[in-house]
């Protein structure tokens, strides 16, 4: 039933965009791509782990694409995606060895530290990374074919949505797997999980790698849709944004990050339109309102709807 509903939602996102203005399609692309990084944050949150450095993997993905184009001459988008999965998995597997030992504020801040180390590297190695001016990412080929200019945006949009949807499904299966349940149990009581014979470390380590790969793929997709990458993708404010969107959407479902991400992008863009001087404040106020009145995130709205729907049915019966 959940799957059917999710597929219906997906169908909506597949059918409507050709009729939308181009810039809205672009915003949606960006929202879907970033939702992958947010999903990584949400997965870890389900295990009670809050990371303030998840932009690290987002940046690893983006710069994998940047370097693949600049130094390896790879223009095939699918190859770049595979490369990003490899670099994302390698980086998170390496750092995870250390980070999976930590909990709470230590975990959050150590992640932050590593993301800032990457930021400093991207900044300092000016000749290689282009420093703060960043790298240009030309339009990729798709399975050897260059998308025609008039349908370029839609192509990138569909690739992003389909890929993200697939990864959402993977994440959904992951949360429903024994490992996913172990992760939830870890949040409740780590000691008990160990006594039951499950490995806490394994659960956290695996989730950490999955979260890293998700963000890395998100970085590639966002990078290609913007066409340019800068070291700020690894800055702590970017990580903060992911955590924020995760809370905005809620952690109740793997679909919640999509909702949070789309709302965030649109609020930010309209804040720009209607208050060019005070957009930061407008954004802040809107987000504060959401937090005050929907502490469980936007996803809690579905719960409200269900409760009301249930009540109505019982009443009519």
């Amino acid at each position: 039933m959940v799957i059917v509903r999710a597929l219906m939602g997906l169908a909506l996102f597949l059918v409507v965009p050709p009729f939308l203005p181009e810039w809205i399609t672009f915003l949606l692309t960006l929202a879907w791509a970033k939702a992958l990084a947010v999903l990584g944050v949400v997965l870890l949150l389900r295990g009670g782990l809050l990371t303030f450095g998840h932009a690290l993997y987002y940046a690893v993905g983006a710069y994998t694409a940047g370097f693949a184009v600049k130094f390896l001459g790879v223009h095939e988008g699918l190859v770049v995606l595979v490369l990003a999965v490899v670099t994302g998995a390698t980086t998170s597997a390496l750092l995870g060895l250390l980070l999976a030992r930590y909990r709470g504020v230590h975990f959050g801040l150590l992640n932050l530290a590593f993301s800032m180390v990457l930021y400093a590297i991207l900044l300092k190695f000016y000749a290689v990374t282009g420093g703060t001016d960043g790298l240009r990412l030309p339009t990729p080929l798709l399975a050897g074919i260059k998308p025609p200019p008039q349908s370029l945006r839609l192509t990138i949009y569909y690739v992003t949505v389909v890929l993200t949807a697939l990864l959402l499904y993977v994440a959904h299966r992951f949360t429903a797997s024994p490992l996913g349940y172990t992760l939830r149990a870890v949040r409740d009581n780590e000691v008990r999980v160990e006594y039951m014979g499950a490995s806490v470390r394994q659960a956290i380590y695996c989730s950490y790698i999955v979260a890293g790969v998700l963000a890395s793929v998100g970085g590639v997709l966002a990078g290609f849709s913007v066409g340019h990458i800068v070291p700020e993708v690894s800055f702590w404010t970017q990580s903060g944004e992911f955590v924020f969107v995760a809370l905005l959407g809620g952690t109740g479902s793997v679909v919640a990050p999509i909702a949070g991400s789309i709302v965030f992008e649109f609020v930010r863009n309209y804040a720009f339109k209607y208050s060019p001087y005070t957009w930061q404040m407008t954004l802040g106020i809107v987000l504060l309102i959401i937090i005050f009145f929907l502490p469980g995130g936007l996803w809690s709205l579905t719960g409200l709807a269900r409760r009301w729907g249930f009540a109505t049915r019982r009443w009519t019966r």
């Binding site: 181009e22 810039w23 420093g131 001016d133 066409g227 340019h228 720009f272």
Partner: protein, 430 residues
């Protein structure tokens, strides 16, 4: 009642003659020319670059509209903030094109945005005029059709500084660099130090310091410079870093020990009175209320007068404000040339054709779109020394030198760093 009043007002508005006499708008002209203006309205670079540019845009659009607009069509600016992450800047550019339906965009102070936006402009076929950013990368790395830059790139700042230095202090032996650790700082130092060492190969670099952007406290760097005792210190600091090197350096005798050269006049006009004595400053082009001479350049006189009348002072800071007016003048001249050539309201492609290798007048003098395939402007380089006039007890700009554009810019098709390494082949210096 209210609606009747409104219709009477509308009737008066329709019947009253246009404010200024310019020929009727050409065939196919729109009601208004919507110009997206993107400049930093928030964040650390807004005070000295973004807001002055915005003020200049206000003053100059008003002037253009008073004179009947561009080709008889009124200019309507659509203002947005450049601050924020790169993906947001691109999203905002797309929104300007699709949602605000602008006819062209003038914008971008940050070099990163000038590298990111052109590809999108090409995709949307939207005329885009980069007005202030300095990176040499834009047209040296790629070719664009719909993108122009009406200000010189930062090549003129480094090469101008080297030439000025050799005129002001021909016996310079040792130099040191103090530049913020990001792309603009790195580019500035690279161009200046390479140019100087080409012109005077025996110059030695004794110290290169890269303070973090907006580090604020530069006391450690100043200590190192005081120990290294270079003849000349070159820096490209702006914002809080410029303020602190001036205040901290002054009390610690940095300006007495070494000649300090600054390449980008990152201060407000009213802050000029607080600059240290003997400070050498470059203006990223002739962007100073006294240079070009207002008596000979009516646009310059009008710009200073208009701003002073509107804001009580010249429009903010040197390069942000002058660069903005250059962009508006370039657009105006290109449109009018295209209207003349086609005899109707021009399409974006017509304007592009008229814009390439265009020459136009501006408060900064005559600007030529001479390089980058006709898409990149070249400008003269202005350097001067701040001197305290003891009698009037205020700072004046002395030992002013203007290096002509062809003396500090490579010819079309040659990259700046290559040109320096080849010994400035073809430079036309007085």
């Amino acid at each position: 009642m209210k609606t009747r009043l409104m219709s009477v007002i509308a009737l008066i508005a329709v019947l009253s003659p246009p404010a200024a006499a310019q020929g009727p708008a050409p065939k196919g002209a729109p009601k208004e020319l919507r110009v997206g203006i993107v400049t930093l309205l928030s964040g650390p670079a807004s005070s000295t670059f973004g807001i002055p540019a915005k003020k200049a845009a206000d003053a100059w659009v008003e002037k253009i509209n008073e004179a009947g607009g561009i080709g008889g069509v009124k200019v309507v600016p659509v203002l947005t903030d450049e601050a924020g992450p790169g993906d947001k800047v691109v999203a905002e550019f797309r929104r300007l094109a699709a949602d605000e339906k602008v006819d062209l965009v003038i914008g971008y102070i940050s070099s990163a945005n000038c590298v990111a936006v052109p590809a999108v402009a090409e995709e949307l076929r939207l005329l885009t005029v980069l007005f202030d950013c300095g990176t040499t990368r834009v047209f040296e790395e790629a070719k664009y059709k719909y993108v122009f830059r009406t200000a010189a790139h930062t090549g003129i700042d480094g090469i101008g500084a080297a030439r000025y230095l050799l005129a002001a202090k021909p016996d310079v032996k040792t130099i040191a660099g103090l530049n913020q650790d990001y792309a603009w700082g790195r580019d500035s130092w690279e161009i200046f130090s390479r140019a100087l060492r080409k012109l005077k190969p025996d110059v030695q670099v004794v110290e290169t310091l890269w303070p973090k952007l907006f580090q604020g406290d530069l006391s450690a760097e100043i200590s190192k410079l005081l120990t290294a005792k270079p003849d000349v210190i070159f820096h490209s600091l702006w914002g809080t870093d410029l303020a602190s090197v001036n205040s901290q350096g002054r009390v610690r005798g940095l300006f007495r020990q070494s000649l300090v050269v600054h390449n980008n006049s990152a201060f407000l006009f009213k802050e000029f009175r607080d600059l240290p004595d003997g400070f050498v400053v470059g203006f990223r082009g002739t962007h100073w209320p006294e240079v070009p001479d207002p008596a000979r350049n009516p646009l310059q006189r009008e710009f200073v007068e208009r701003c002073t009348k509107k804001f009580g002072e010249p429009c903010g800071s040197p390069h942000g404000s002058y660069h903005m007016v250059q962009a508006l003048q370039g657009v105006k001249t290109a449109y009018e040339k295209a209207i003349k050539a086609t005899g109707r309201w021009p399409s974006a492609d017509d304007v592009v054709r008229a814009f390439e290798y265009l020459e136009f007048d501006s408060p900064s003098g005559r600007i030529a779109m001479a390089v980058g395939g006709g898409h990149q402007a070249i400008e003269d380089s202005l350097y001067g020394t701040v001197k305290l006039d003891a009698q009037r007890n205020q700072n004046v700009l002395t030992s002013v030198r203007v290096f002509p554009a062809k003396c500090v810019n490579p010819p079309d098709g040659v990259k700046t760093l290559d040109w320096i390494d080849q010994g400035f082949r073809g430079a036309q210096c007085p």
